[in-house]
């Protein structure tokens, strides 16, 4: 049997929960420069299903947390709007928004979450959460483009955990009663089990849940408190990947990168109307053109026939044999109960139901373009 080929040689960073992962029997692997749990004792399938059925606790402390601070909201928001296509000026108090750092060609440098504090006294500050593998480039890029009166402050003393699943709200309410009243993509500071935290009702699994930012020296205590709840189990990066794939969510470096635009990636929803009209972000000319005339290729969901998964890099062909794209994420969807994938195909082949051929180990595997998400989103409404 071939061995997995993780051959990172640089010393790995650890999160403040590293000791806890090891104690919980995690299998640790290198990921984005960190030694991270890919799974715990129960395995990826069980962890995935547990998150869909109850509540899973994820360590996402490797992600980059930072604050942009300026004299007032308008100034800070405009500084960020020069780098991203989302409407940040009109982001409400206590609201979070998904967006992308773009290059001059409209390609995606990283995707990120932007949060405006619920406290008007903190106006002028925006919290950013960026991908672990991109954070150093992101910070350099942002700092190089900020006006003199807006600063980037890295929040390296903060950890981040996610509690995800249909029981997440019920569990968290035992330790933070106010959390239950938060709407989807709302953000607030509050105590959880007596610990100062910053919460957002969001996540990357397609389930209801929260991301909880907390000081690094308090996160182990908070995680252990949540893990003592009978509904909660620790979940590794393996299930995080299968959950987000079923939810149709992009993984940076795979489904989106510097060669893909938000329009190609199906992220048009994340560009609010004012920005589509006004532009004023990197690559705006291309993005306006793609909005008007359609991109040449688009990200689609794919369901292979049978049980064989088709992995990242698999060539996608039309039924006439012409190459129309490639898979960017693919694997087995435990909730779907079969193989699923996403990838880019030329626009003419992107309609739901279009039959395509996947070249898996030199053999043709029939598949169909499918609507995403593969497993329905169950975000909190209300």
């Amino acid at each position: 049997m071939s061995e997995p080929t993780d051959t990172a040689s640089a010393p790995l960073a650890v999160t403040p929960l590293h000791d806890l992962h090891v104690r919980l029997g995690a299998r640790m692997v290198p990921f984005a420069g960190y030694d991270m749990p890919v799974q715990y004792r129960d395995g990826i399938l069980t962890e995935h299903n547990h998150t869909r059925a109850a509540a899973g606790l994820f360590d996402v402390s490797h992600m980059g947390q930072a604050f942009l601070t300026g004299p007032d909201h308008e100034t800070t928001a405009r500084a960020l709007e020069a780098l991203v296509p989302a409407d940040i000026v009109n982001l409400g108090h206590g609201k979070q928004r998904y967006t992308q750092l773009l290059n001059a060609e409209g390609g995606i440098l990283d995707d990120l979450m932007v949060t405006r504090s619920s406290d008007p006294d903190e106006d002028g500050a925006l919290m950013l959460i960026v991908n672990a593998a991109c954070k150093h480039q992101d910070y350099a890029h942002i700092e190089a483009h900020l006006p003199a009166n807006v600063k980037l402050m890295r929040a390296e003393h903060r950890a981040l955990i996610a509690l995800q699943g249909p029981k997440a709200a019920e569990v968290l309410a035992r330790h933070a009663p106010e959390a239950a009243g938060m709407g989807f993509m709302a953000a607030r500071s509050m105590k959880v089990a007596g610990i100062d935290c910053h919460l957002s009702r969001s996540g990357y699994t397609g389930e209801d849940g929260y991301e909880i930012s907390v000081k690094a020296n308090k996160v182990a205590s908070l995680a252990e408190t949540l893990l003592r709840e009978p509904e909660v189990k620790p979940i590794g990066l393996g299930a995080r990947d299968s959950l987000r794939l079923e939810a149709g969510l992009c993984l940076y470096g795979h489904d989106i990168d510097t060669t893909t635009t938000p329009i190609e990636a199906g992220l048009t929803w994340s560009i609010q109307k004012r920005r589509r009209t006004e532009g004023g972000f990197p690559g705006d000319a291309r993005i306006k053109e793609e909005l008007a005339n359609g991109p040449s290729r688009v990200r689609v969901g794919l369901v292979p026939e049978g049980r064989a998964p088709a992995r990242e890099g698999t060539e996608i062909r039309a039924t006439d044999g012409s190459v129309i794209g490639a898979i960017t994420s693919g694997g087995f969807g435990p909730t779907v109960g079969g193989p699923i994938a996403m990838g880019y195909v030329s626009r003419g082949s992107a309609d739901v139901g279009t039959p395509v051929v996947l070249m898996v180990r030199g053999k043709e595997l029939a598949a169909k373009v499918t609507a995403m998400p593969f497993a329905p989103h169950r975000y909190h409404k209300g």
Binding site: M1, S2, P4, V38, Q39, G43, I44, L45, T46, H48, G238, A239, D241, S242, R307, A308, P309, R311, G331, F332, P334, P339, R361
Partner: protein, 124 residues
């Protein structure tokens, strides 16, 4: 009839010149939940060290190498509908294929159980 092992974590059980081949319990633990096994066609000739099958977990695809040279004479029909059999009984009901060996004597070069256990100890 004795069971032999490879450093690639395959096991081989000999019955005359026919070898039943699978992956070891250690291998299935390392892989995690098996969701698909691609088996060779019956009649295919495989060469020792060459790719003979592919086993896919939720996370990744791994190649299974032929532990010995020979012709595939049977594949495990249970794995198509129930790939998790590999996790449940890797060294029993989760067998992959039967090979009619080119040279039965080749099996003697593989590790016996004691040697394989010693080898596993070096990986821990």
């Amino acid at each position: 009839m004795s069971t032999r092992y490879t450093k690639d974590h395959e096991w081989v059980s000999l019955d005359g010149d026919v070898a039943t081949v699978g992956i070891t319990d250690y291998a299935q633990q390392q892989l995690g939940d098996v969701v698909y096994v691609e088996l060779p066609e019956v009649g295919k000739k495989v060469t020792k060290g060459g790719e003979a099958a592919v086993v896919e977990s939720v996370k990744a695809a791994s190649e299974v190498y032929a532990p010995l040279s020979g012709e595939v004479v049977e594949v495990n029909p249970a794995l198509e509908g129930a790939p998790a059999t590999v996790n449940e009984d890797a060294q029993g009901k989760g067998w992959f294929m039967k090979l009619k060996l080119d040279n039965r004597g080749d099996a003697d070069e593989l590790m016996d159980e004691a040697a394989y256990k010693e080898f596993l100890a070096t990986l821990a």
